[in-house]
């Protein structure tokens, strides 16, 4: 089955991103196709490479990045939600005159149309939120 994933909460405060990650990993192991993982609302905070969780805790951003590399996943952070919350890639940082970017490896910034496209193209769009 072709699945679209939507993550609506940031890491650590809510379990949504953990559950979405575990679900995505399990779906891939079962041979399903993940069309795209879209991060919206505070979910965009999963895509900053500047998180430094305690060593005995899971590193969700790293987990997503590694999963993306292994399975060639399309991890998309909503641009409007990201800009509100300070998630920038190099191009956006330059465009807005900011002194740094923080997007994590394997993530890219794009528009909400990518979420709607997931709903259209995927057999199921699975939403993880509060």
């Amino acid at each position: 089955m072709k699945l679209g994933i939507l993550v609506n909460e940031g890491p650590y405060t809510h379990q949504a991103s953990d559950t979405a990650y575990q679900f995505t990993k399990a779906a891939l192991e079962k041979g399903h196709e993940i069309f795209r993982v879209f991060f919206y609302h505070d979910g965009v905070n999963n895509g900053t490479r500047l998180t430094v969780p305690p060593q005995d805790d899971r590193n969700l951003q790293q987990a997503w990045s590694e999963l993306a590399e292994k399975h060639n996943l399309d991890l998309v952070v909503c641009i409007a939600a990201a800009q509100r919350r300070g998630i920038l890639d190099e191009g956006e940082a330059k465009r807005h005159g900011k002194d740094a970017s923080n997007i994590a490896p394997g993530f890219r910034i794009s528009g909400l149309g990518q979420l709607v496209e997931s709903g259209i193209v995927a057999d199921r769009l699975v939403v993880f939120g509060d």
């Binding site: 939507l6 609506n8 609302h41 409007a80 528009g111 709607v116 709903g119 259209i120 939120g129």
Partner: protein
């Protein structure tokens, strides 16, 4: 925006609004998705339940809380061909609201001399479950 391959597929999308308009950003960002989705020529409807019914209450004034009052945007949905706004009756009643408390939201029927027709439909919880069951894609906010 959407390429040819996607335009061939027309799915029913329902955006489920469960949270109050202010206090969290969910309502505002949900509306942003709704507006974008209009460009994809899909069959779009909205549902309002739980505290989400407060999003449609008329006379909203956010001056005191320093937030943008985005409620007028709902009135423009008809121009985006979004004409189905389902409001759950039980959620209204639980909060002491009636249809009289809601904004007037209409769409223009081109086939009826551009008559303005109401977009809001008050439905029971049971009716709403039936509408939800018919959807291809449900997005909860």
């Amino acid at each position: 925006m959407a390429d040819d391959a996607q335009q061939q597929v027309k799915k029913s999308f329902m955006y489920v609004n469960r949270k109050a308009p202010y206090g969290t950003i969910y309502a505002l960002e949900a509306l942003e998705v709704v507006l974008i989705s209009a460009a994809f020529e899909q069959d779009v409807s909205l549902a309002f339940l739980d505290d989400g019914v407060f999003q449609l209450v008329k006379g909203q004034n956010t001056a005191g809380i320093g937030m943008k009052n985005f409620s007028p945007t709902f009135k423009a949905l008809g121009d985006y061909e979004i004409r189905q706004l389902y409001v759950e009756r039980e959620s209204l009643e639980e909060r002491g609201l009636t249809s009289e408390d809601l904004m007037e939201i209409t769409w223009e029927d081109e086939e009826d001399d551009y008559a303005k027709k109401p977009s809001i439909r008050i439905v029971s919880r049971m009716e709403l479950t039936e509408v939800m069951a018919q959807q291809d894609v449900l997005l909860n906010f």
